[in-house]
């Protein structure tokens, strides 16, 4: 692609790429998001290329195979969509590909077996499916549509238009003003107004002239959250574009993207996208011939959760251990190398180009006044439609879980939703109509967080979940400050005891006071918010804690020390699978006759229950 040397050229290029697109050529989009990839989507894409090649169709008729980012509906993956017919095929296997090429692509026939159906209704296109119908995509607008490895595809979809607009018709001051008007709040968890952050940094640079940095936080460490991963993988140009706009507003010349090492595809796609942007004259020296210079470097994380915290992240970029510092001086004034630094989350930056293009006013009208715009959530756990959703702020939680998510699978019941990862809280079923926005969630003890939404049913134990998050944070604590290093360990000891049916009711009070001390004393947000999962579960599910302590019983049947496994003699067929796999060899029985577990030797590892094909293992 030739280098873009002036702003009009980008427009011309976009229009010509659009025109080429409208030739009526068929397009096959194969989702290569993390969920579909785990289900073998890469093999499906390869099969498509192979099948199309074998057909030997003339170039004009040959369909274009696009490997795109996440389509969102991970549970039904691998997903394939076809254009112009708009067909949506789910659970596509490599073996189905030949049939799709033969029937659908060549003869416009619909293969009904591959269509998605729900409650007896069969859906032909994605737009009709309830899962997609209620969503509104801004940050993930191009994800799943474009080929992330093709800058032409991104430009045809409007990438870098906002940068062009800012360069051509806005001063840096106007850019900051527009972001302020939009009311955009940081999508990384804390929800700090982005415009205000930019303004403070711009003021700090005026006071102390010198370098200023723009940093993108892609260290999405919350277990069970993958929104940022999907944006970085599926539409890397939106992140780069957001960073260029931030750099323009602040006068920055160097930016950094800090990405988790566990996201190799995000790193790869971002690296390729940056190279393409550089050779297209959209990044680096003299962007679009305007004389503006800005470049980005990728820093890979090294497996420390605490590096998602701003000051720890800066330490890590500087090549040091990621230990946070106290924030009496804010990082907008003294961040990376003690210079003013703006740190924004991936999703926040992906929103910026849309805000600049459509105006802050437009964005501020979406959602409630204090939480404008949309938010992407990774909806996971015990919910039917596991996947990635983006909804306007302020929708009720039940809409996300029940209408979009399709509710709880099987005959189990909706118990709670955990939002905000290890720093967030559990929202019980009775509060399911709470509006999902920054302030409402904080009011009930949880937080919006980065967007992980983990649905729990009645087979999930809240004590176990609280213990899980606390253990996670205890392991990830950097150890710099005492309240976090020792406080979390002590809190975990209490919860370990509860899970074993030990402890007393006084312990609960002691645990609460310890939690308060940790909240007040910890140096950074990792420690400060660590007690949240425990405190919210204690508030809404105190009876369950008491069942563990007083009755020595785990109502959900999860805590190992309080449960026993049994074999249902009616369901057991005597296949012997459990007996041959039991690590303790404590399952006995004659062939083809119900087996039995010897409780004395059983370690409750759960292998038998996981392996049994007849659901004959019960927990009590």
């Amino acid at each position: 692609m030739e280098k873009i040397t002036n702003i009009e050229q980008l427009d011309l290029l976009k229009n010509s790429l659009r025109k080429a697109r409208e030739s009526g050529r068929q397009v096959v989009r194969v989702c290569l998001g993390p969920g579909c990839r785990a289900q073998g989507a890469d093999k499906v894409a390869a099969a498509f290329r192979n099948a199309v090649r074998q057909q030997g169709l003339p170039v004009k008729v040959e369909p274009l195979i696009k490997e795109t980012g996440c389509h969102g509906f991970c549970k039904e993956g691998p997903l394939v969509t076809l254009e112009p017919s708009g067909l949506f095929y789910s659970r596509v296997k490599p073996d189905d590909v030949e049939e799709i090429v033969e029937k659908t692509i060549k003869n416009n026939e619909v293969i009904s077996r591959l269509l998605y159906s729900e409650n007896g209704t069969v859906y032909k296109s994605a737009q009709e499916i309830p899962f997609y119908k209620m969503q509104k995509k801004i940050a993930s607008r191009n994800v799943g549509d474009i080929d992330p490895l093709s800058i032409e595809d991104a430009i045809a979809n409007g990438a870098y238009q906002a940068v062009a607009k800012a360069f051509a018709s806005m001063t840096p001051e106007q850019v900051i003003k527009d972001v302020e008007v939009s009311g955009l709040r940081g999508r990384g968890g804390a929800g700090f107004p982005t415009g205000r952050k930019w303004r403070s940094a711009a003021d700090a640079v005026k006071k102390h002239p010198g370098p200023v940095y723009v940093v993108c936080n892609g260290d999405e460490g919350d277990p069970g959250a993958f929104m940022d991963c999907v944006v970085m993988e599926g539409d890397p140009h939106s992140v780069i574009e957001g960073m260029i706009i931030a750099a323009y507003a602040l006068g920055a010349r160097q930016g950094f993207i800090y990405v988790r090492e566990e996201y190799p595809f995000a790193i790869k796609n971002l690296t390729i996208a940056m190279e393409q942007a550089r050779s297209a004259g959209l990044l680096g020296a003299n962007i679009m011939g305007t004389g503006f210079e800005f470049d980005i470097r990728i820093n890979r994380g090294a497996g420390a959760y605490v590096c998602g915290e701003s000051t720890a992240l800066f330490q890590s970029i500087e090549g040091k251990p990621g230990e946070p510092r106290a924030k009496y001086i804010r990082s907008v004034e003294r961040g990376l190398w003690d210079r003013p630094t703006v740190l924004n989350n991936v999703e926040t930056l992906a929103n910026i180009p849309v805000i600049i293009e459509n105006g802050g006013e437009w964005f501020s009208k979406i959602g409630p006044p204090n939480s404008t715009g949309t938010k992407a959530f990774s909806l996971v756990g015990k919910v039917k439609n596991v996947g990635l959703v983006e909804v306007p702020m302020g929708v009720p939680l039940s809409t996300i879980v029940e209408d979009i998510g399709g509710g709880i699978p099987g005959k189990k019941s909706f118990k709670a939703v955990q939002t905000g990862g290890p720093s967030g809280g559990c929202i019980p079923y009775k509060l399911k109509d709470v509006s999902v926005d920054f302030d409402s969630l904080t009011k009930i003890g949880s937080i919006m967080g980065s967007g992980g939404m983990i649905v729990m049913d009645d087979r999930d134990c809240v004590v176990d979940v609280a213990r899980y998050f606390l253990r996670f944070l205890e392991e990830e604590s950097c150890g710099k400050c005492l309240p976090c290093r020792l406080g979390l360990e002590a809190m975990l000891e209490f919860l370990d005891n509860f899970a074993q049916g030990k402890g007393s009711l006084e312990d609960i009070e002691e645990l609460k006071s310890l939690a308060k001390a940790v909240q007040d004393g910890a140096l950074c947000a990792l420690g400060g918010s660590a007690p949240n999962p425990m405190l919210t579960t204690l508030e809404y599910f105190r009876d369950e804690y008491e069942a563990h302590i007083i009755e020595k019983r785990c109502p959900a049947g999860v805590c190992k020390d309080l449960i026993t496994f049994h074999i249902d003699s009616e369901a057991c067929t005597g296949c012997g699978l459990c007996a041959s796999n039991c690590p303790q060899a404590c399952i006995t029985g004659e062939d083809k006759k119900p087996h039995e577990i010897s409780q004395n030797a059983c370690t409750r590892c759960g292998t038998c229950m996981d392996l049994c094909k007849f659901s004959a293992i019960t927990v009590s």
């Binding site: 990839r37 991970c74 899980y468 590892c605």
Partner: protein
């Protein structure tokens, strides 16, 4: 200086030899500034499967950082390994969604099956068993990654079967 107890069995030495290439080609990729310490350590680990004491010294000379500082970085970050890793990396996701769906049981089963604790390598250098926090494939929880292959919606028996075929 803190010395990490590294034991060199015969298999290990052979395995490490197989991976060795010239470290200079890695060092050349980055300017000699302290900020590139972590990137260099990552590249060395990607090449050799672990970071040897010798290589830490080379890196320190290149970026101009005291050896003690480099050790504090290597021991702080979870992904750095001071011991050679096995031929195959078995990573059990213990993220929230996987936890709810029994990831812990799979990790325990693999510990028994491979006769190795998590975050350790089997004696024959075939497998390194690790737990990771979330590669983003929550839709198919529980997930086990063997090298670059995802095993989704898996269970103990499937993972064992897969490892057997390697």
């Amino acid at each position: 200086m803190f010395r990490h107890p590294v034991t060199h069995s015969k298999e290990r030495i052979l395995y490490v030899k197989k991976l060795s290439t010239d470290i200079d080609s890695i060092l050349e990729k980055y300017p000699g500034e302290p900020q590139y310490l972590i990137s260099l350590l990552q590249d060395v680990q990607a090449q050799y499967s672990y970071i040897s004491e010798e290589n830490i010294n080379f890196i320190c000379d290149h970026v101009g950082v005291p050896v003690t500082k480099a050790w504090s970085v290597v021991t702080f970050y979870r992904s750095f390994s001071l011991n050679p890793r096995g031929e195959h990396q078995v990573r059990v996701c213990c993220g929230t969604a996987c936890h709810l769906k029994g990831a812990d049981r799979i990790a325990e089963d693999l510990e028994r099956h491979l006769c190795v604790e998590r975050e350790h390598t089997t004696k024959d250098m075939r497998f390194t068993l690790e737990t990771i926090n979330c590669p983003g494939a929550c839709a198919v929880a529980p997930v086990v990654m063997v090298d670059d292959e995802y095993l989704g919606s898996t269970n103990q028996a499937d993972v064992r079967q897969y490892l057997k075929k390697l």
